[in-house]
Amino acid sequence: MRMLLVWDLPTRVFHWLLVLCVATALITGFLAPEWWKGVHAVAGYGTVLLLVFRLIWGVFGGEYSRIASFVYSPRRTLEHLRGLLMLRPPHYMGHNPSGAAMIFALMAVLIALTTTGLIELGGEEKQGPLAGIVGYALGNGLKPVHRALAIVLIAMVTLHILGVAVEIAITRAPLIRAMITGWKPLPAGEPVPEPRSARPRAAAVALALVALPAAVVLGELSRLPPTGIPTLPANDLYAEECGACHAPFHPSLLPRSSWAGVMAGLSDHFGQDASLPHDEVQRIGAYLQTYAAEAWDTEAARRFAVIAADEPLRITATPYWRKKHARLDAAVFSRPAIGTRSNCSACHQDAATGRFDDQAIHIPGDKAHASQTVD
C-alpha cells in the first residue's frame, strides 16, 4: 500500500504538546490542590503559545496543516456526517469535515479558555500580564465562565477521542499511529495527491512578526503595578502593640466596620484584656481604617470584607475563611508549627503582604499536600 506523509512534524509536535498542556490544565484546575495554580497558569501560557504557532502554521505549513485545506462547506460537512451514520464516510486524506469542525470548535474554546483564564489570573490573583489593568470584579466574574468552558472542553475532548475511535473502527485507518509518525496509507483507487510543501522560513518570519510585538506589549503590561494594591506604609506602633501577642494581621483582612469594633473593644479582645492608651487606640485605629479591606482590590480583601453576622470581628469566622479551610482536619491546626487558626503565616508564606497567593501555601508537616482543591 502506498504511504503518504500527511501530518508534518510541527503539526504532530503541536498536537501532542497541546494534549500535554490541556491535560495538565484540566488536572491542576479541577483536581490538584491550590498550590498547583502556578503549574495551571504555565499550562495556560503553553496553550496560548501553541495556538499562536498553529494558526501561523495553518497558513505556511504543509498541505494538510493548512487551515484553508480543511475549510468545508456546511453541505459537505453534513454529507460526511451522513456518511458516518451509514458507516461509509467519504475518504479524506487530511482532516475530514467532521474532524475539521471539531478543530475549529476546539480552537475557539481554547482561545476563550485562555483569555478568561488570563483575565481571572490578573483580576483575582493579581498575577500575569493583565494584573495591572483588570480588576477583581471582572476576574472573579469570569470564574464561572472559565469553569463552564473547561467542562465544555472535557466534553469536546471526549467527543474528539470517540470520533477518532469510530473512524478507526469504520475505515481501519491507523489514525493514532499517523499522528505519531505522520504517515497515512493511501487507499486503493484514490488518486495520488500532490500536496503543497511547508514554507518554514515564511512561517518563522510570520511568527517573529507576531511574537516580537506581542512580547513587547506583554512585557510592558507586566511592568504595570497590579490594580488595587496600595503601598502599605510600615507602622511600628501597630507592629509593636498588636504584634506583641499575635502576628499583626494585614489591615486588608477585615472591613472598616470590623476594625472599628476591634479597636473599640480592646478591654475584651476575644476574651483577653488588650487595653491600650487612648492615643494609641486612635493612631492604630486610623491606620486600620485607612488600609482596611475597602482600600484593596485583592482576593483576600474582597472576600474577607464579607463578615460573619454572629462574629463580625473574627477573620477566621468569615464565610470565605471557613469555606477555604473546611477540608482541613482540626488536627492540622494543632501541629506544633501552626498551633492556632489565626496563625496565617504558618501556611501562607506571603500572609504579611495580604496577597495570599495560592502558590505561597505550604502546610507545615503536610507531606501528602492533598486536602484542598483549587477554587
Binding site: H246, A247, D273, S275, P277, T340, S342, N343
Partner: protein, 148 residues
C-alpha cells in the same frame, strides 16, 4: 613545684577574672536605676495602702507567680499559663507567639519602662484575676523576677 604553681595561676587567674566580670555584669544587669525607682514608688504605694508593709518579698512573688488564681479568664488562671513555671524560659501567648523570658537575668529591660510595665500588669492581672494587682503584689513579682 615552682613550675606547677605557675601553671595553676595561669588557669586560676583568668577564671577568677571571668567570674568577677560575670558577677559584676549580673549585678549591673540587676541593679537598674529605672527599676529601682519603680520599686521605690511601688513601696511607697504599698506602705500607704498597708502601714504594716515592710519590704517586698521574692518568696511571696514566687508563690503568686505559681498560684492558681480565679476571677479572670478561666483559660488563664496563672502567670504560668503563658510565662511557664520557669521565668528564665520563653513563654507563649494563647495564639502561640513567643514571649521573651520574664527573668531579669534573661531580659534585662524588664520593669524599667513604667508605662509598658503598667500596661501589661493591668492587662494580665485583669486576665488572670479579674482585677488590678496591688502595689505589694506587683513589687513582690518584680523582686522575684529580678532575682531570677
Amino acid at each position: 613545684m615552682q613550675v606547677r604553681r605557675s601553671i595553676d595561676l595561669r588557669v586560676i587567674l583568668p577564671a577568677a577574672g571571668a567570674a568577677v566580670l560575670l558577677m559584676m555584669g549580673t549585678a549591673l544587669a540587676l541593679a537598674d536605676p529605672a527599676r529601682d525607682a519603680i520599686l521605690a514608688a511601688l513601696a511607697t504605694q504599698a506602705k500607704a495602702a498597708d502601714p504594716a508593709f515592710t519590704a517586698f518579698s521574692a518568696a511571696r512573688g514566687e508563690a503568686f507567680w505559681n498560684a492558681e488564681h480565679s476571677g479572670g479568664n478561666p483559660d488563664l488562671r496563672s502567670c504560668t499559663s503563658c510565662h511557664t513555671k520557669d521565668p528564665t524560659a520563653e513563654g507563649k501567648t494563647t495564639v502561640g507567639k513567643a514571649i521573651a523570658p520574664m527573668a531579669v537575668s534573661k531580659s534585662q529591660q524588664r520593669f524599667t519602662d513604667e508605662a509598658k510595665m503598667t500596661k501589661w500588669f493591668d492587662r494580665n492581672c485583669n486576665n488572670v484575676l479579674g482585677r488590678v494587682c496591688t502595689p505589694t503584689e506587683e513589687g513582690d513579682i518584680i523582686t522575684y523576677l529580678s532575682g531570677k
